[in-house]
């Protein structure tokens, strides 16, 4: 099997299956959560509450009052990582072409060197986060195999994408195939690990905002 065959497989059947597992997995996990239901709340909610589920869905992206100062490492590397990953996924021209082919939607891309820099920043942030995970007693206690797996499958697409673009280690065709395989691994793993927070955090934030909002608190 030549490198181009590998790439064709990665862009073909492998991608199809990975995307299908991803979609089916996400749908299944959403059913899993909502199937457990929620009892009706008979307590009269406060009128004119400053809080609500929808509000918290967005506001929780900002650090809580007083937290940034003391826990800058987690916050800053968290933001840098997520922003870098977001830019790389949605604003590299090649990726937009992917989304256009799937959805018909298209939007302007960022200059490639900018995306390249954001990928580097995201990888550095991931490195910092791993070091922090290994060194912080709290994070170490909470961490298990799933956490390190999630870390690795998130890093790989960034790393292989970077290496393909910069012609590092392997020739481009092979590296591009590896990049696609790493993305496919991420797609398959995502619904069934903590990476599912990509979707579920909107649900949990909504519930949080709703629980507090009914009581008149903007959480």
């Amino acid at each position: 099997m030549t490198h181009l065959d590998l790439l064709t497989f990665a862009r073909g059947s492998a991608l199809n299956w990975a995307l299908m597992v991803f979609v089916a997995g996400v749908v299944l996990r959403l059913f899993e959560i909502f199937s457990l239901g929620r009892k009706p709340d008979f307590a009269k909610p406060r009128s004119n509450s400053p809080g609500s589920g929808w509000r918290t869905m967005f506001t929780r992206s900002l650090p809580a009052q007083g937290m940034m100062k003391h826990h800058a490492v987690s916050y800053i590397s968290g933001y840098v990582f997520h922003a870098g990953l977001f830019l790389a996924i949605f604003f590299l021209a090649a990726h937009i072409a992917f989304f256009r082919s799937m959805t018909g939607l298209s939007w302007p891309n960022l200059p490639t060197p900018l995306v390249d820099a954001s990928v580097v920043a995201a990888m550095v942030a991931l490195g910092v986060l791993l070091a922090h995970r290994l060194n912080s007693p709290v994070k170490r206690l909470l961490s298990g195999f799933g956490d390190y797996l999630a870390w690795a499958v998130t890093l790989l697409p960034l790393l292989t994408g970077y290496m393909a673009y910069h012609h590092l280690l392997f020739e481009y065709t092979l590296m591009l195939a590896l990049h696609l395989f790493s993305v496919e691994l991420l797609l398959v793993v995502l619904p069934f690990t903590k990476l599912f927070h990509t979707f579920s955090l909107f649900i949990s934030r909504w519930y949080n905002g709703d629980i507090f909002g009914r009581k008149g608190v903007a959480s």
Binding site: L4, D5, M20, A24, V27, A93, A94, M102, V115, Y172
Partner: protein, 371 residues
């Protein structure tokens, strides 16, 4: 300009042929210099090459055409500019070639047999076209199947040059569903050095360059893992493309006639396979260095790569899925939903069972017996 006579013209050699045709030493040296540059040899090698080729006897070449379209031959015959490339036919003795030879029928086959006999172990075998293994009758010459003719002719060859993507990798005949069971030369011949010169068709100067190298050194040039001469196939089209800066800046044509396309921006999004195609088009170009596909406004289709025909649409960017359809995702969502309904039922019954099994907690029951 005064014609300088060739020194040491030995009868029966290439040098004599050149002299007879009125080719000057200066012109010949110019050709050799171009070849050494093309083959990425040191400039000093031009003299060596000129000397070696002048002294060499005309190389016997047998050219076999199997499942092919004659595009490769068309390509090499149209390499008359620069004119010196025509010389390649003075360098060799093309003893057998369907399209170019005058002989036909029995006489033609006789010529092949004679050449094989006269130059046993020394002749160069050039093959274009793939070989059908599905049924020998799919492609025959003079009642001989392609497979048998290849095996028979390869036996006494010094080396084989698989010209074109069909001979090198199976090409279009091998493309899905491959009705003839087509294979490449290298799938059949295992005991001879094979130089793959893929391309649909290959660049003329690449073919002549490989021949010049063989004549000069009597050996084959350095090859990559797919049997291609590194000097021509060492870089991707993309890496040598004059539009590369636009790619690096993220400037892309969105359609073939938009402003960006007119400005000569990168054709990646229109399906250019330059990034994964190893060939020399972007440097040697075609038709006397006039242009190459990307320069003419069309993306590279990757014709010199194995299985290029099955590597997704020519008009789908490399980052686009080859065969994904929205209905696949719809089906996946439906499967997920069906599994979701099943798990909903299971979760609800687990919870209902827990509710049914609930025993009222009273203050008397807050402690454990054994505690």
């Amino acid at each position: 300009m005064k014609k300088t006579p060739h020194p040491e013209v030995i009868p029966g050699t290439v040098g004599e042929g050149l002299l007879q045709r009125g080719v000057t030493r200066r012109e010949f040296l110019k050709f050799c210099t171009a070849m050494t540059a093309m083959l990425a040899l040191p400039p000093a090698m031009a003299e060596v090459m000129a000397a070696a080729i002048s002294k060499a006897r005309r190389q016997s070449v047998i050219w076999l055409s199997f499942q092919e379209c004659t595009g490769c031959t068309e390509s090499i015959t149209r390499s008359h500019s620069p004119t010196l490339e025509n010389l390649i036919f003075d360098l060799i003795s093309l003893d057998y070639h369907h399209t170019l030879q005058a002989a036909s029928g029995e006489a033609a086959e006789q010529a092949r047999m004679q050449a094989m006999k006269d130059n046993d172990g020394k002749y160069l075998l050039i093959v274009d076209g793939s070989i059908p293994l599905g049924n020998p009758g799919f492609s025959c010459i003079a009642g001989i199947s392609n497979h048998d003719m290849l095996v028979e002719t390869a036996k006494g060859a010094a080396a084989i040059v698989a010209v074109g993507t069909c001979a090198a990798f199976g090409g279009i005949p091998k493309a899905d569903p491959n009705p003839t069971g087509a294979v490449a030369v290298s799938d059949i011949v295992k005991d001879k050095p094979i130089i793959n010169v893929p391309g649909c068709p290959p660049i003329p100067v690449v073919m002549t360059g490989v021949l010049a190298y063989f004549l000069t050194f009597g050996s084959i040039p350095e090859l990559d893992s797919l049997g291609r001469p590194k000097s021509f196939y060492g870089d991707t089209i993309h890496d040598r493309c004059y539009r590369r800066p636009f790619y690096d800046q993220g400037k892309f044509a969105q359609s073939f006639d938009d402003e960006a396309a007119r400005n000569g921006w990168c054709l990646f999004k229109l399906g250019c396979k330059g990034p994964v195609t190893y060939n020399a088009c972007a440097t040697t170009k075609w038709n006397d260095g006039t242009s190459f596909p990307i320069q003419s406004g069309h993306g590279c289709i990757g014709c010199s790569e194995p299985n290029f025909w099955d590597a997704g649409s020519f008009y789908k960017a490399l980052s686009m899925p080859v065969s994904m359809t929205p209905s696949m995702l719809g089906a996946a969502a439906a499967v997920g939903a069906a599994a979701g309904v099943a798990i909903t039922w299971h979760n609800r019954s687990t919870k209902a069972a827990a509710k049914a099994a609930h025993e009222k907690v009273t203050v008397q029951e807050l402690t454990r017996e054994e505690k």
